[in-house]
Point group: C2
Chain length 428, copies 2
């Protein structure tokens, strides 16, 4: 079976969760459908999950997802259909799309992602080209990728309030660039639609904002289903501003870590879980798993050496003062192969449809470590089955596990949609 093994003695609660999800599938889908009736889904989204056996929770929601090349090619038809349905619903009348990527020209994995995304959009029936923000790209550049795909990067040109590449004037710009550095001048005040809206870029977005929406959504969902919300929700605390280098705000952080660890310990006791609770300390703004630290005891924060403090202070734009959140750490108890490498699922959505996912398999990381860190090496393992076709007859089969992942990921998607709405209201 092309699916990681769940190595845990505490699968009892998860199997109970699986059973409840399957028994209430119609209710779950109805609940989600009703939420989407008056709410626009993001065009695309990927959600990093952790499966601890006793709980399944999202740990990161990416509104500018890369990694489409890691999906199972058997589900290409599902991606094509999802784009067609989503475009008809959200952006009728659109014909030409310009994909605006990150400036990673040497990252072959990222370029394969772009080529895969372009293939999906073209097969869905949209003329799609790639307009690069690279300052030194002055002519079109054709890249041959390891998969055999071709990718044409073209320089983005602005004329008046429109951007274009060569003879191609798009109706819609699709950002695959998380705008960590802010909105580039060339993309401001455009007549063309930009998706997702640039003010959702990481230069502005806060993790605490997202997880506070997720907490509301997952609690409401759990209540509707008669579940303990904790089984799908990582508890978190907002810690305000910190300066790790100057050690400002450390005491307040320690207090909150102690408090959060106590809450987790309470839940562990309730479910008879013997593992040691831990929390993740993260920069509230920022991506790429930068400035993330695992803590099992608040004392560790007082004992950081200079190197560790510099690491925590450095986020993508080298700001030393950061807003910080602390989030319940969720063990990953899925392992792959004889080496028992830790595996973390990532679920992909196009519009409100789950179109697949893959595991990040990492042999050199522990089960309580962040698997999405800078420079991290992982092996992608595509989901063997889709996330929308559970098998009622079986228990603990991969189709059912993927169904749960798809549901939890859609709750994070819903939280992102509320986040969009709130941010949209403050950035009309």
């Amino acid at each position: 079976m092309n699916v990681p093994h769940l190595t845990t003695a505490t699968t009892g609660p998860l199997l109970a969760l699986e059973r409840q999800f399957l028994q209430q599938q119609v209710k779950i889908e109805t609940w989600l459908r009703e939420k989407w009736q008056n709410l626009a889904a993001p065009f695309y989204c990927s959600v990093d999950l952790r499966n601890a056996g006793f709980k399944v929770a999202p740990v990161d929601t990416n509104l500018f997802p890369a990694g489409f090349n890691n999906l199972n090619s058997d589900f290409m038809p599902l991606c094509i259909q999802a784009v067609q349905a989503t475009m008809a619903e959200l952006y009728p009348g659109i014909k030409q799309i310009l994909l605006v990527p990150e400036n990673h020209t040497r990252n072959q994995f990222y370029l394969e992602n772009l080529a895969a995304l372009q293939e999906i959009l073209v097969k869905a029936g949209f003329a799609t080209r790639v307009g690069s923000l690279l300052p030194d790209l002055t002519a079109p550049s054709e890249l041959a990728l390891p998969s055999g795909r071709q990718l044409l990067l073209e320089p983005l040109v602005r004329e008046g309030d429109r951007v274009s590449v060569a003879d191609f004037s798009p109706c819609l710009l699709l950002l695959n660039n998380d705008l960590s550095g802010g909105i580039p001048e060339i993309l401001t005040n455009l007549q063309q639609a930009i998706v997702p809206a640039p003010h959702l870029g990481w230069f502005k977005r806060l993790k605490s904002e997202h997880f506070s929406h997720y907490q509301t959504v997952s609690t409401e969902f759990a209540e509707a289903l008669g579940l303990d919300p904790w089984l799908i929700n990582p508890i978190f605390r907002n810690c305000g501003e910190m300066d790790f280098l100057k050690q400002h705000g450390l005491e307040g952080l320690q207090d909150k870590v102690t408090d959060l660890l106590a809450s987790i310990r309470g839940k562990y006791r309730e479910y008879k879980i013997e593992q040691k609770p831990f929390v993740m300390v993260k920069a509230d703004a920022g991506t790429y798993g930068m400035a993330v630290m695992m803590v099992q005891d608040a004392k560790e924060l007082a004992e950081l050496n200079r190197k560790q403090r510099t690491h925590m202070a450095a986020s993508k734009n080298s700001q030393s003062v950061n807003k910080v959140i602390i989030q319940e750490g969720v063990y990953t108890f899925e392992t792959w192969g004889e080496a028992e490498a830790a595996a973390e699922p990532v679920v992909y959505m196009l519009g409100k449809h789950v179109v697949g996912g893959f595991y990040r398999v990492h042999s050199r990381r522990g089960i309580n470590e962040n698997l999405n860190a800078p420079g991290m090496q992982f092996e992608p393992l595509a989901f063997a089955e889709s996330c929308n076709n559970p098998d009622y007859g079986k228990c603990d089969c991969c189709a059912n596990r993927f169904y749960i992942y798809g549901v939890v990921a859609r709750l994070a998607l819903l939280a992102a949609a509320y986040e969009f709405k709130t941010l949209g209201e403050s950035n009309p």
Copy 2:
């Protein structure tokens, strides 16, 4: 390769057609998308096609499709997603669906179809039960099917202007019954929505109406693409009323057959096709391939014996007077296996999405015979790949052939949507 072999010397035009479809894929999808912008698709539909190597054309469009059990189970996720997208678009707010089937209680294939359809609807998140019109069904009847599926048939009960089964009061009735015998009393003047609208039943629908819309749609499409419309359109003539038993109207029919054969001969000459042209004589109203006859020469119609005339006169409700249409016969040049059995593709759609298809493989029928006749035995051969994911790099591969089938089937779907609209305007 799990796909029939195309046994014909005249694949030249088809490969040219395939190339044109692939090269213009974005244009094709854009054209279709624009058509659907102001037009509601039928909830579901299946289209029988014939592939003659030199042309691909629809020969029957079924608005109450059975056969969902014959689709490739790998594409179940595509069906589920298509139902979700279609319901959100056409029938938001619906929670409970009652499937109203044909009264075929001994046809295991049909019952498997119902169970497959119910599974798709339930997995898409709709509570779905089956309400039977069988007059002698007074209590719920649980059937165990050969596939291992269970099917519960429940008697339909009417109270005031609503129908229900037991404790289940549906918001929507989904007809899987073609209403050849007219609209049953129990389904008239209901408060609940009925899909497809009952006035689209075969008691009222005319093939000539559908194919005249198809002619308009396919001609417009072909012009947009720079194709000869004949390559995707079977020519037909409307022949008015006939009485085969009394031999009324036979002469007029012969004239029209001679005229239609001459038109086909002209096209065969143009494309250097050496086969003998033929036409199909069909009842304009009616389903199940009843009263269908293959004719290569108008004289054959004057020489019918009593048995043949009785056959032509008998349609589902034993009406002896029929409106008749004659349609260009399209050879099927796809054959399967060493026995070279004739194979005819059937394409399935949910909303405007093509979700798969299968071949009817029939070893005892000729390449110019109707493969969908009463009592007919066929082996279903599920399409090995989806119809929306062509392979640009190859020519004459099954993914590309299925893409063409999906496009032609969607043109027939579009014709059906116009037919709905026209009938809806006359039955508000």
